[in-house]
């Protein structure tokens, strides 16, 4: 039976003002039941105030094979961080 139930990714918002955070995945026959299963599996200790579920097969992910080309070039671009720049003393209220 497991094979027939699709996988869902679960995102929980811990409280108002925070973002939904990915907490894990689960099986459910449809979206309505996925939200309920998520409530039972991931919020039973008061972890959340809002739940999103997304079919796992609807997520397009970067490939581990592309890891070097995707992420390594950002490693030495210190000028992309705002702290790289000196702020003139005359510039107030930045």
């Amino acid at each position: 039976m497991s094979a027939e139930w699709p996988l869902w990714e679960v995102f929980v918002r811990a409280k108002r003002g925070l973002s939904h955070i990915h907490v894990g995945s689960l099986h459910a026959p449809d979206a309505t039941m996925a939200v309920r299963n998520a409530r039972d599996v991931y919020t039973r200790r008061g972890e959340g105030v809002s739940i999103w579920v997304v079919p796992s097969d609807q997520i397009t992910a970067s490939s581990p094979d592309e890891k070097d080309a995707f992420f390594d070039p950002a490693g030495d671009k210190v000028y992309r961080h705002p702290t790289f720049y000196d702020v003139p003393v005359e510039a107030k209220h930045l």
């Binding site: 039976m1 099986h27 459910a28 039941m33 309920r36 409530r39 039972d40």
Partner: protein
């Protein structure tokens, strides 16, 4: 003021159904349902603990929740027969959950207005819990009733299994905070609505089974209590 009989009856309903639902743990069709049914069982166990503790206080004989849960024999339990029935397959359990959670919802919704502060407080917390129990059962009855030929066949059989035990929920109860007979109409509106949406017929009325409130139980309760009570009776006061 709530009567001891009434607190005991409601507490026993919750305790026995909690024990039954606990039997699904590690046996439900999916891991997610294991957790869902365990959550529901624990909600009911929480209600049972408060209600049995209160029943003990009202009795005034020094019996606490453990004394009432573990040291009474089946003839002294006051739960309705519906909650002690064996789980059957998942559809039987969902049929019972729909029937019982819809009943408990109407009950607790009204008990919030009880003049008895303890009972009103229990009901205020429990009504949210059973609202979810009712929704959980509703979702499954809709899917099984309106699913495959096999799921529909099982759902129809499940409803027929539990239906003879429905009338007992709404029998008059001397000393009740809320008259059970008044719950039948809103219960019917909800449950019949779900069945209609699922494309299921309301089962034909049959001879109704009763006696639980007077301690006259089915043969199933003794086995359930043996499992529930044997540890505590073998090792009184055991904790971990």
């Amino acid at each position: 003021m709530t009567t001891q009989r009434y607190a005991l009856a409601l507490g026993d309903d919750a305790l026995i159904l909690a024990q039954r639902l606990g039997e699904w743990v590690a046996r439900a069709p999916e891991l997610e349902e294991d957790v869902a049914l365990a959550n529901i069982a624990l909600d009911l166990l929480g209600q049972a603990r408060t209600l049995l503790t209160y029943a003990g206080e009202l009795e005034g004989a020094g019996r606490d929740e453990d004394a009432l849960a573990y040291w009474r024999d089946d003839r002294d339990f006051r739960n309705v027969l519906l909650v002690e029935l064996p789980n059957g397959d998942f559809a039987v359990t969902m049929a019972r959950q729909l029937v019982f959670a819809a009943y408990q919802y109407e009950l607790y919704d009204r008990l919030r207005g009880s003049a008895d502060e303890t009972v009103a407080a229990v009901a205020g917390k429990a009504v949210k819990e059973v609202h979810y129990h009712r929704d959980h059962a509703t979702q499954w009855v809709l899917r099984l009733g309106d699913g495959t030929d096999e799921s529909r066949r099982r759902m129809v059989a499940g409803l027929e299994t539990v239906w003879p035990y429905v009338d007992e929920l709404f029998e008059p109860f001397d000393g009740a905070d809320v008259d059970p007979t008044a719950l039948r109409e809103p219960w019917t509106a909800y449950v019949h609505g779900v069945l209609a949406e699922a494309g299921l017929s309301v089962p034909e009325p049959t001879a109704s089974r009763r006696g639980g409130r007077d301690g006259l139980h089915t043969e199933h309760l003794g086995y359930l209590l043996a499992e529930l009570q044997h540890l505590h009776r073998s090792h009184p006061g055991a904790t971990w």
